[in-house]
């Protein structure tokens, strides 16, 4: 069951998120708004959001090892399971919400026309997947651990291994794109894109832990990655959105 639009969302903590202008990440310099954002207490336009049903999800959508592979083949790389919950800031699971993910292959190469890295493409790896959360907000997918790769920023910058995530939540105000990093990767602390995030605590919030207990014997290791989307006010004593 999805919640109807109720209270407005907690104000976004802009000091916690990366600033738009972060010169260590050069591309942000010309793509960052310079004027103050106009504040807007949520209306129905922000407190509602698109709904995607389980019927859009194909059998292999959450299996990146197989969803682009030829029959009988599988992607090359370290087999992993990524799982977790999508919750709001109150710790409440968000059921029935779409999670999309994409990543480089085990060599750090993306399947994309603008990709120029010399690492080889894996003919059996596309790099995209999606899932809809269960009644507790849980999701899981199977993939290979992506490789680190160089990127044009300073002369010798490298991205740590990461998986991109796109989240819808239950309202357009919760829309978020972020990235998941892997516990123990020293490259995390050298990356200018990670470095756009102001605090170590917020970076650690994007770093998935190896979950030894959920490792599947002779098959795949597990990483747990919970995602927090904005919480919304209780409607107690609040002027409700029109029509509610």
């Amino acid at each position: 069951m999805r919640n109807k639009a109720e209270g407005a969302f907690y104000q976004r903590d802009r000091e916690w998120h990366p600033p738009a202008f972060a010169p260590g990440y050069k591309t942000s310099v010309l793509r960052s708004p310079q004027k103050a954002l106009i504040s807007l207490d949520n209306t129905l336009s922000e407190a509602t959001g698109p709904v995607f049903g389980h019927n859009i999800i194909g059998e292999l959508d959450n299996d990146l090892i197989h969803n682009f592979a030829a029959p009988g083949e599988s992607a090359i790389g370290e087999r992993i399971i990524v799982y977790g919950r999508v919750m709001d800031e109150n710790g409440k699971g968000l059921p029935g919400t779409l999670v999309e993910f994409w990543q480089a292959n085990a060599g750090g190469r993306y399947r994309h026309a603008r990709e120029t890295y010399i690492a080889a493409l894996d003919p059996n790896f596309g790099g995209c997947g999606r899932a809809i959360t269960d009644e507790d907000g849980g999701y899981a997918f199977r993939t290979i651990r992506p490789g680190a790769y160089p990127w044009p920023n300073r002369p010798n910058d490298w991205r740590p291994a990461h998986i991109h995530f796109s989240l819808f939540g239950h309202a357009f105000a919760q829309r978020l794109i972020t990235q998941m990093y892997f516990e123990g990767d020293p490259m995390i602390w050298q990356c200018p894109i990670v470095g756009t995030i102001p605090s170590r605590e917020a970076i650690e919030g994007l770093t998935a832990l190896l979950d030894r207990e959920n490792t599947i014997p002779m098959d795949a290791r597990a990483y747990k990655f919970d995602i927090i989307l904005r919480g919304r006010r209780s409607t107690l004593f609040e002027n409700r959105l029109e029509g509610n």
Binding site: L37, E46, G49, P50, H112, Q179, E201
Partner: protein
């Protein structure tokens, strides 16, 4: 002392140059994984309302169009109801999703949405907002998704009474939120990330 038991929102990170792989894989040439790209088609034969096309480009601070942006829209149906079930006023048009997603063209950066003109939606206090479409823009170099709204040029009276447009103190900037008519049923909504014509973005 007790605790509020509250978590912090996961920090945003840029969608990066390869956002197409995850969000519009068929556009990126990764066929056969998803049957169609999410949000590519907003209309069905039975969708109620006036058909419109919304085109535009996203420009950086030098006036160069972004060729790697991903643009999403969210809008009410022709009757002013947000479809899909999250609107407390009702389910809305069952033949309309309200959600569109397009990548900018790889050469020109131009995007185009085929949709219907949205109806009016009430503001928190019951006053009616002018018809509008919510935009969300991500790309390489954008560290957190940008929210803005597109309003319609022919709705002068409704725009003048719109409680959100009224929040914009610097009136010359209002023009950045109003699309330009480009022939029958076609609108142009260009977004400027910075510079003199910087689009008004919202902290929602």
């Amino acid at each position: 002392m007790q605790s509020l038991n509250r978590f912090k929102e996961s920090a945003s990170q840029t969608a990066g140059p390869y956002v197409h792989i995850g969000c519009v894989p068929n556009f990126a040439g990764i066929g056969g994984v998803f049957p169609a790209d999410l949000g590519k088609t907003m209309l069905k034969e039975a969708t109620r309302g006036t058909r419109i096309t919304v085109k535009g480009q996203v420009f950086d601070g030098t006036g160069t169009p972004l060729r790697d942006a991903l643009i999403e829209i969210w809008q009410a149906d022709a009757d002013g109801i947000y479809p899909g079930g999250s609107d407390p006023r009702g389910p809305g048009d069952p033949h309309f999703t309200g959600f569109g997603r397009q990548a900018g063209d790889a050469a020109t950066g131009e995007f185009a949405f085929e949709t219907v003109k949205p109806g009016r939606v009430p503001f928190r206090d019951g006053r009616m907002m002018a018809p509008h479409i919510t935009f969300w823009i991500v790309a390489r170099g954008i560290n957190i998704g940008l929210h803005t709204r597109m309003y319609f040029p022919e709705e002068e009276e409704a725009n003048a009474a719109d409680p959100v447009l009224a929040r914009v103190e610097h009136k010359p900037r209002l023009a950045t939120l109003i699309a330009k008519a480009e022939g029958e049923g076609t609108y142009r909504f260009d977004v400027h990330l910075q510079g003199e014509d910087e689009t008004v973005f919202f902290d929602i």
